[in-house]
């Protein structure tokens, strides 16, 4: 290992390109992506369906050969030193990649053996992981009987058999209910606290915001913005106030008042009780005057918040296309417990 300084890069990609040709049409799945992930940090790759997230991850995890560009993981080239890369990375693909016909234990014992654990130590490793992932009781059942959340966990456990120093997680929580999602988030936090470097892709702003040190927003195979969540938000504007009134009949008057006090435009929400307004650059003191002014008019404001713009607004500003905000609501896959 090289002497480690804090800015050692775990993942570095330069000009990665992957185009798929079928017949006459060419899909520019990844079209020149640069990424850098310092050791021990989390990079969130955020992008809508078809942005090229999976293709990028597959190239970094040595499953797909780039058409152009280079990438290294802990200093190993993903094409020339693919085998070295494989021995330091773990991958949890977008779709579960454990064998559904085998039991949880059999899957993990098999992987442990393939990573070089011999005889009894493979079984011990499997038991340790199953217990740690809350699957101790399910080890002897075929994976096809697992619920969606359990499948994700066994899949994560499978990627962690030899405690990789770099972990790729492709949409680790898509299709999970909020409780399972929180469990997966907790697992990721533990891994990171333990020093792992994580590259995770997601379509959910909240997820990137919660877990990632840095976010790369990608669309149509290109990185269209990069930075911390705060930086990305700041690049869009100062922030906004969000109000929710007790009485919807008062909304028009309240909105007018807020517009006057702030000197900014107001946008009405679908919710008839709520509206929000952008805070102008020097709008700090005006924000402080808002509540007393509303109170003077006899308008009750049970909910008031001042926040930076949401990543959703960031995405809209960057791509001109809004993103799905609520992971739970927009899923086509629903995950239930097996009966």
């Amino acid at each position: 290992m090289s002497p480690s300084s804090t800015d050692d890069l775990a993942i570095e990609a330069r000009g990665l390109v992957k185009h798929f040709t079928s017949g006459k049409s060419v899909t520019k799945a990844v079209d020149g992506i640069d990424l850098t992930v310092p050791e021990g940090t989390v990079l969130g790759v955020l992008g809508p369906n078809g942005a090229g997230k999976t293709t990028a991850v597959r190239m970094l995890a040595t499953l797909l050969r780039p058409d152009a560009g280079t990438a290294t993981v802990l200093g190993h080239d993903v094409v020339r030193d693919a085998d070295k890369v494989r021995s330091v990375v773990g991958l949890t693909g977008q779709y579960a990649s454990v064998d559904e016909d085998l039991t949880g234990t059999e899957n993990l014992v098999m992987l442990a053996r393939l990573y070089g654990f011999l005889g009894g130590s493979a079984r011990a490793r499997s038991t340790e992981l199953l217990d740690a992932f809350g699957l101790g009781d399910a080890g002897d059942r075929q994976v096809k009987t697992y619920s969606g959340g359990m499948r994700r966990r066994i899949d994560l456990a499978a990627s962690l058999v030899m405690s990789p120093r770099v972990l790729f997680l492709d949409e680790p929580t898509t299709g999970l209910d909020p409780r399972s999602r929180n469990q997966v988030w907790d697992i990721i936090r533990v891994l990171v606290a333990d020093g792992a470097t994580v590259l995770l892709t997601t379509q959910y702003l909240e997820e990137a915001d919660q877990l990632a040190d840095k976010i790369a927003v990608i669309d149509h195979g290109r990185v269209i913005a990069e930075g911390t969540a705060t930086e990305l938000k700041r690049s869009v504007g100062q922030g906004a106030v969000h109000l929710r009134l007790a009485d919807s009949a008062q909304r028009a008057r309240a909105a007018e008042l807020v517009a006057t006090v702030l000197g900014a435009e107001v946008s009405l929400a679908n919710d008839p009780y709520a509206f929000s307004a952008r805070v102008p650059d020097d709008g700090g003191p005006a924000v402080a005057r808002l509540l007393p002014a509303l109170d003077d008019e006899g308008i009750a404001v049970p909910e008031f918040s001042l926040g930076q713009p949401s990543l959703d607004e960031v995405f809209l500003a960057l791509t001109g296309q809004p993103l799905d905000e609520d992971p739970g609501a927009s899923d086509d896959e629903t995950i239930e417990e097996v009966a």
């Binding site: 798929f20 597959r58 040595t62 499953l63 797909l64 070295k84 494989r86 021995s87 990375v89 991958l91 693909g93 779709y95 579960a96 990649s97 454990v98 064998d99 559904e100 016909d101 085998l102 039991t103 059999e106 098999m110 992987l111 053996r113 393939l114 990573y115 070089g116 654990f117 011999l118 130590s121 340790e128 992981l129 217990d131 740690a132 992932f133 809350g134 699957l135 101790g136 009781d137 399910a138 059942r141 075929q142 009987t145 619920s147 959340g149 359990m150 966990r153 962690l160 030899m162 405690s163 469990q183 907790d186 533990v190 891994l191 606290a193 333990d194 792992a196 417990e337 097996v338 009966a339």
Partner: protein, 282 residues
């Protein structure tokens, strides 16, 4: 009962401390040897047979049906009596049963690819051919089962090979060697085609003419000249001649050599193609 189990497992959120310990692996083992990696994949293939015993259904039932059908349908007409025909037919039907079983190689492989299991295999730091060679070795277990079923039925019906136990075992071994070599055709199909069923369909189209236009069922000297020409170059005919000879205790050395050479050539030519497809499969 299943419901109760699920709920219990579902409710137990992962313990942060257990998790921390599990990921903080003190001692990383070294890479497994190619042999150990291959055998691990073979073990997986056997586990799949254990968990999905239905996949043995085709392997056991179709040889039974074919043997019964051809013995009693054609036996009288072709050879005068059923027992005489059986001595001729059984080694051939055995070859057919095993060759049809090789199709599953491509089918299972394509299934693994479509389901993403191969992605995980390809992301492991092991000897690259291990998943494929391991699966093929696991498949030979299926071939062996198909052989045993067919032979047992044959013995019950009156098959009395003059080659004795040694001849029969050698015949089966010869067949397994060739089946292993032929499987590489199906691994290639498995890697190239889009769905498991497409693999199945295509493989059938390849195997049907090879097995029926051969010397499995009738002596080619009764066939029209054109067909005879094909039967004579058909690799399946050579295989059947070799297996028949060994089981009858009169080995046809030309056919045996032919089969062994063909097996080596098939493997040498097709295994690298399979590996290249496996590496580059996107």
């Amino acid at each position: 009962m299943a419901t109760e189990q699920t709920t219990a497992a579902e409710l137990r959120a992962p313990e942060a401390s257990a998790l921390r310990e599990a990921v903080a692996l003190e001692h990383r083992p070294g890479r497994p040897s190619p042999v150990s990696a291959t055998l691990t994949y073979t073990w997986r293939a056997l586990l799949k047979i254990k968990h999905v015993p239905e996949q043995l259904f085709d392997v056991t039932v179709s040889p039974i049906i074919f043997t019964l059908m051809f013995t009693y349908l054609f036996g009288g007409a072709l050879a005068g009596d059923v027992t005489t025909y059986l001595q001729f037919l059984l080694p051939g039907i055995l070859v057919q049963a095993v060759l049809f079983t090789t199709i599953y190689t491509g089918y299972t492989m394509n299934n693994d690819i479509t389901k993403g299991v191969f992605d995980r295999f390809r992301s492991l730091p092991v000897w690259r051919p291990a998943p494929i060679v391991g699966a093929l070795l696991g498949d030979t277990v299926r071939y062996t089962i198909a052989s045993i079923v067919t032979l047992t039925l044959g013995l019950v019906l009156g098959f009395r090979p003059s080659g004795g136990v040694v001849g029969v075992v050698l015949g089966v071994l010869m067949l397994l060697v060739f089946a292993f070599a032929l499987s590489w055709v199906f691994t290639i199909l498995g890697l190239l085609m889009r769905s498991p069923n497409a693999v199945m369909g295509t493989s059938m189209m390849v195997l049907m003419p090879l097995t029926f236009a051969s010397n499995i069922f009738v002596d080619p000297s009764t066939m029209p000249a054109v067909l005879q020409g094909f039967v004579d170059v058909n690799p399946v005919s050579h295989l059947v001649t070799a297996v028949r000879g060994l089981m009858a205790g009169e080995p046809d050395l030309t056919a045996v050599t032919w089969v062994l050479v063909a097996s080596v050539v098939l493997t040498a030519a097709l295994a690298p193609i399979t590996m290249r497809l496996y590496r580059n499969r996107s």
